[in-house]
């Protein structure tokens, strides 16, 4: 698919040079003389500031800014052509099926390409199991519904078990794994990185970016994100969030390479400082909240991270039953499924989800234990 590869790393519009935009020579020279070389430099100033800096009239400035904007603006397409492009170029119009029928239906086909899908839940609930199964699914040949490609698995907590993964494979796809050498080929497509410090983690990400295209990587798994990126949650001061760089980096990685990116997140217990209402809400109304939140946990990494992920799947355990809930997804109504873990990985007990209209879709229930989980 040469067309999609060329389209992938789009030239960064912000760094477009004014000298190459075809503006009238006179104004182009004035911009250069005042050290305004890129579109970013020019558009970071208001029109009045430009007037003062360049010593030209408003009409000229307006025309120049208008031309620069038109040239630096990314091209548009209709939603229809976007859909047709995806259907034509991508597997199942941009989805990786999880083989959990109910969940795939809710997600319009499976884990979407190009965005971050987050798995959040308490320890031992099954996040890593889910990741192992997805890795296998992505490496399967297309004749068996896989993406036929490599998988990069960033394992920050040394939880990756190849023995377990092969076990899942043998139990879920016996017809493939019984073939001589298949297990080796599948396992050979999964590349595991195990950074142990935050610096190593950042370096890992850079290396991944560089090799993403050349090696047909079809899935990126980060298990888990919270382990090596600041344990401090953004409360009040969200501006210098240490997570900031990683968040935008991974998001743009997903976007430009059009692959699914699955990230797991930890939980922590709800503290009194966690805000849950606005100034206009009467605090009297929320008296029930603290009590219902007693056994509830909260996703780590804070609010900016919660905004950055496109799909949030909450895994929790309540009265001995495990649930996987679609808490955030612009493609699905809020729905929960019961699941269990067996030799063949995660499986849903019922494919018909339970629709949840209230805030309980976001709540994360522990197994009755309070305190911090890792």
């Amino acid at each position: 698919m040469r067309k999609s590869v060329n389209r992938v790393w789009r030239r960064v519009m912000a760094n477009k040079l004014i000298s190459e935009m075809g503006l009238p020579k006179s104004i182009a020279n004035i911009f250069a003389a005042r050290n305004i070389h890129t579109a970013k430099d020019a558009l970071s100033l208001t029109e009045f500031e430009l007037m003062e800096l360049l010593d030209v009239g408003l009409a000229e400035v307006t025309t120049a800014v208008s031309s620069i904007s038109e040239i630096s603006c990314p091209p548009y397409q209709t939603a229809l052509s976007l859909l047709e492009q995806r259907m034509h170029n991508e597997h199942l119009a941009g989805h990786l099926p999880t083989r959990l029928k109910g969940l795939d239906a809710a997600l319009c086909g499976g884990i979407p390409f190009g965005v971050i899908t987050e798995l959040v839940g308490p320890a031992g609930i099954g996040k890593t199991q889910f990741c192992l199964k997805l890795s296998l699914l992505a490496s399967l040949p297309s004749s068996h519904g896989g993406l036929d490609g490599h998988v990069v698995y960033v394992d920050t907590e040394s939880k990756f078990s190849s023995r377990r993964m092969i076990e899942i494979g043998v139990n879920s796809f016996p017809e493939i794994f019984q073939i001589e050498g298949m297990a080796q080929q599948m396992a050979g497509r999964i590349l595991v990185l195990q950074p142990t410090t935050p610096t190593e983690f950042s370096e890992c990400l850079q290396k991944i970016k560089d090799s993403l295209l050349q090696h047909h990587v079809k899935l990126l798994v980060i298990d888990s994100m919270a382990a090596l990126v600041s344990g401090r949650d953004g409360q009040g001061q969200c501006r210098q969030h240490p997570l900031g760089w990683h968040m935008t980096f991974i998001k743009s990685l997903a976007e430009f390479s059009r692959i699914p990116v699955v990230v797991t997140n930890q939980v922590r217990s709800h503290s009194g400082d966690d805000p849950f209402h606005y100034s206009f809400q009467d605090s009297r109304q929320n008296l029930d909240f603290p009590t219902t939140f007693d056994s509830h946990l909260v996703a780590a990494l804070g609010i900016p991270w919660a905004h950055a992920v496109s799909i949030r799947l909450v895994l929790e355990s309540k009265s001995g039953q495990r649930f996987i809930k679609v808490a955030k997804s612009s493609m699905s109504p809020p729905v929960a499924f019961t699941f269990a873990i067996s030799a063949s990985g995660i499986s849903l007990l019922h494919d018909d989800g339970i629709e949840m209209t209230g805030p309980e879709i976001n709540a994360i229930c522990g197994q009755g234990n309070s305190g911090l989980f890792n």
Binding site: R10, V12, M13, A14, A39, L43, S44, E52, D55, V56, G57, L58, S66, I68, S69, E70, C73, P74, Y76, Q77, T78, A79, L80, L82, L83, A93, C108, G109, V115, Q235, G236, C238, R239, H241, G244, W245, T248, K251, D273, P275, F276, H277, Y278, S279, F280, Q281, Q285, I303, P304, A306, H307, A308, V309, S310, A327, S330, M331, P333, T357, N362
Partner: protein
Amino acid sequence: MEVSSLPISASHRAKLISAGYISISSLSSISPAHLARDLGISENEATGILKVASQRGGPERTIPSHHSIVDGAQTAWDMLHEEESCRRITTSCADLDDILGGGISCKEVTEIGGVPGIGKTQLGIQLAINVQIPLEYGGLAGKAVYIDTEGSFMVERVQQVAEACIKDMQEYDSFLRKDLPARQVNLQANDFLANIYYFRICSYTEQIAVINYLEKFISEHKDIKVVIVDSITFHFRQDFDDMALRTRLLGGMALKLMKLAKKFTLAVILLNQVTTKYSGGSFQLTLALGDSWSHACTNRIILYWNGNGRYAHIDKSPSIRSASAPYAVTGRGIRNLASNCKRVKLILRARLAHDEHICRSLI
């Protein structure tokens, strides 16, 4: 009128003032050659200055105002007529439409904010579809511009919402027009998708560029009736070291969008994220981008969780009362929370509300 307020270059302004030309009337009967000699500039530059001066001091304007008291002003009575006849975009949730006075206003900037997962993108997509509802069903038959800064726009979802909208229109037909000859809804979901212009923005520079470019784009596509920015926050939140610059840039964007809304009579919807602030002894939720931004938008709606459901609260609006209404996010899109509410009622209400406005304006 003062020469110092003319939009010309600083050095020209300085030369005019030091040569004694303080008011614009002093430039009214002077020739370019004379001015050029006085200021020590070329005749071309002098002609340019005189042109700007004549535009500013011009007596007649093309705006239909019959008042000589303040040039360019409109009377409140004229504005009332305009407001009444201005159509609104339904949200497909009757309760929400009610508190909004019929729907999202088509001449103003409306900011919608809320926690992740509350339904901001859902509402954005719903409005991008609803603006296209044909006139005979109470819609605007317009097109939409969707500016996506975060990659939240999922085409599959847009398809679902479009299909549900078509079903609603068919039900409306069969329910309320049973006495009239059968009418086919000739629209398909793909027709709706073809009318949404999608821009994917990856940096704040691109965001400023696209907002600047919209004026030209919309004058070439006059049937665009809604511009949705999802979200306005993302590229201004991370790694922005110079806060003063951020405030200036956001302010500039807000002004341009307001101008766009007014000039082309379209609705501008800005989706915003949420952050925390410390107030009154505890941490509270508030919309992102700071206090100066909170003044920038005309209307502000906050989507939040309350008890057992999702609610929308009108936090700020010059013309609508502050109120809250429940809504639901369903497989079909944004709908009323009450499950037994006939979908048809929603479209009918929107239509009646619009007709009511028209009747009132005729009084």
